[in-house]
Amino acid sequence: MSSDAVITATELGKRYQLGERQQYGALRDVLAGGFRRRSTSGREELWALRDVSFTVGDGEVLGIIGRNGAGKSTLLKILSRITMPTVGEVRMRGRIGSLLEVGSGFHPELTGTENVFLNGAILGMSRHEIRAKLDEIVAFAEMDAFMSTPVKHYSVGMFMRLAFAVAAHLDAEILVVDEVLAVGDARFQQKCLAKMGEVARSGRSVLFVSHNLDATLALCDRGIVLEAGELVYDGDTRSAVDTYRRMAGVTTRSGDQLDLSGLDREGTGEARFESARIDAGARSEPARHGADDSAAVHSGDRLTITVDIDAAEAQSVASLGLTVGTEGGLMLLNLDSADAPAIGPIALSAGRNRLTLTLPELHLAPGRYRVGLRLANPVTTRIGSGAIDLLDPAFVLQVDEAPPSVRGDGSPEPSGTGRGTVATAAPVVHHGAGSLVAGAMVVECH
């Protein structure tokens, strides 16, 4: 144990009897089963966390990343003392504040002020402490006018703002934080992030879990990656995020042939995306050949996605859609064949169908992007009714820095090939990274 470590976790493990997490027993089972139920033999076990060791230094901000079910929540629950480890030990120095969810203690019938006191007390603040910070909390939440209104009359945004404000003013030497960033509108999210940054720089030690990788990168000094309950990486945040991205989905480049048949998906399944081939090239050429980095996709390239769709029977599909978003989950581009009258419904024959989606110019800042594919009937947006097959992401696209020669040559050139051009649903989207995205999609049926 290093002398300046404020948290030392040693070989932590948490085992669940399978079913125990979701199910509670019925007394009848115990009465009928007698002592049988008490023995663990024959019951399946699941190690939600296994052999996890790490340290957090004084004032360090540690990011914890991993896929859903990787053990992040379990780890935070142990550190917050909500649940006990099965094996291992944690030593922590100083006062611990934990925020696994904002607003858990809020009651709809109570007013804003009353909820601040109640929630503060649940989180561990004294009445005196809360009174001293009340004005600051109210100002942060921008709620001055509504503090004597019962919370049940608040909008979701107002509720979340106030809840975050209470949590953000919790004074502790160690803070354990999960998921609290996703509150409010984009502007308030920025404010929350700024507050988190302030906390991170104030010398407190923070354990931070978020699905927002951009926030993790911005806030954390170090990152650990969990996978299937085990710690697979411990080091600088950048490499941790890269490790996670590699596990979460191999990034796709030009020329890749992808098998989509095994992916998690939603929809009725009457037709399914089976495979996709990605080709990119300079704008006017179908594909680039012979270049050194032929596999790279650059900003401004023409992107061609050739998909194979298996249909159970011949059918007409109202909408074929493509989404492009950041890995953090922010949608940048949502293109739908239904928006282009020239394309019309897409006729699929029974069996294998091949379609080509062409984005004549894809302007994206270098980085990784989630690309989603969907078939829907009737027209639908992302999720919800009508999806026949929805993959989000279908793959993660790697966009590299464009070589100078290919960059910025002239205006977009709507292409008339195939059956029609889809004007983009979001022709110009301003993105946090500062890039402008414009595009049009061309759908060809073969």
């Binding site: 009848r28 480890p85 030990e89 611990i96 019938e109 649940i122 561990g124 004294s126 004074d171």
Partner: protein, 284 residues
């Protein structure tokens, strides 16, 4: 101070260290004491919400015993003709009902307290023991309001109050200790076995007839009194009636048995609850 660590704590180099291990720590009395302000907030929330959500608010505390008194007076006072000596049956029944309704309501609320607060239990750490205790303490306000009604009724009877009234809080304490012990066990069981939710109302119904609510405790033969006293509520009501109405004092053997059982229930409740506490968040 935020909170005292749940598990072993030691102060080394002027720092406080929290050590989390799979070994269950002893009952965290110090921590419970440190979080007494939270208990106050939970009691306050309990009362505030009830009075906000219900149309007649505090009047429920009078309405419920009053209606039960009226019904019991007709059935047991008139039709059955239960003998209550110099005290009118209505007054006699009300005295028992005030204490019994407190007990039954708070045990019911305590047993559901963890499920009702599921979101907090699975997301924030604090000594969970405070959750079942809060509605029981909040119930004391109803008891107080009910007592005002009782005082009015007793004065209508022109029945004088005596120094015996100082024993009333002791009788109530016996009821509170029993309610806390039973409430802790039931709330912990309720998390693991949802049957408990259905068993509790039924259990309380049976329990009422095992307590001297509608009949005087001295109708129970003397030989059976110690056995009868295993139900601490029986002695609590008998003592309460003694202090308010001047009814006969229960045999000391019965009082002794009841007090012992209540204390055991309290100790067992705390232990059972504490043992189960570690897995609440895993099951909820």
């Amino acid at each position: 101070m935020l909170w005292h660590p749940w598990t072993a704590v030691s102060t080394v180099d002027g720092h406080r260290w929290t050590v989390i291990t799979p070994n269950r720590p002893p009952v965290p009395w110090r921590e419970l004491w440190a979080r007494r302000e939270l208990l106050g907030f939970l009691v306050w929330r309990e009362l505030k919400i009830r009075y906000k959500q219900t149309a007649i608010g505090a009047a429920w505390a009078i309405f419920q015993p009053l209606v039960a008194m009226a019904i019991f007076s007709v059935i047991f006072g008139r039709l059955v003709g239960v003998e209550t000596g110099s005290v009118p049956y209505a007054t006699f029944a009300l005295t028992g009902l005030i204490l019994w309704i407190f007990f039954a309501n708070t045990v019911g609320q305590a047993s559901n307290s963890l499920l009702d607060n599921e979101r907090i239990v699975s997301k924030v750490y604090f000594p969970r023991l405070l959750l079942p205790v809060a509605p029981i303490l909040a119930g004391l306000l109803d008891l107080l309001i009910g007592s005002a009604l009782l005082i009015g009724v007793v004065m209508l009877d022109a029945n004088p109050f005596t120094w015996r009234l100082v024993v009333a809080p002791l009788a109530v304490s016996l009821g509170v200790a029993t309610a806390v012990g039973v409430g802790l066990v039931l709330s912990a069981l309720n998390v693991h076995f949802r049957d408990v939710k259905y068993v509790v109302p039924f259990m309380l119904q049976v329990w009422m007839f095992a307590s001297p609510v509608v009949y005087p405790s001295d109708t129970v033969p003397d030989a059976w009194r110690p056995l009868y006293a295993i139900n601490p509520v029986s002695s609590a009501i008998a003592m309460f009636r003694w202090s308010v109405l001047g009814s006969p004092w229960p045999p000391w053997s019965a009082v002794g048995v009841s007090v012992a059982v209540a204390l055991i229930a309290l100790a067992v409740g705390v232990r059972v609850f504490h043992r189960a506490e570690g897995t609440f968040a895993d099951v909820l």
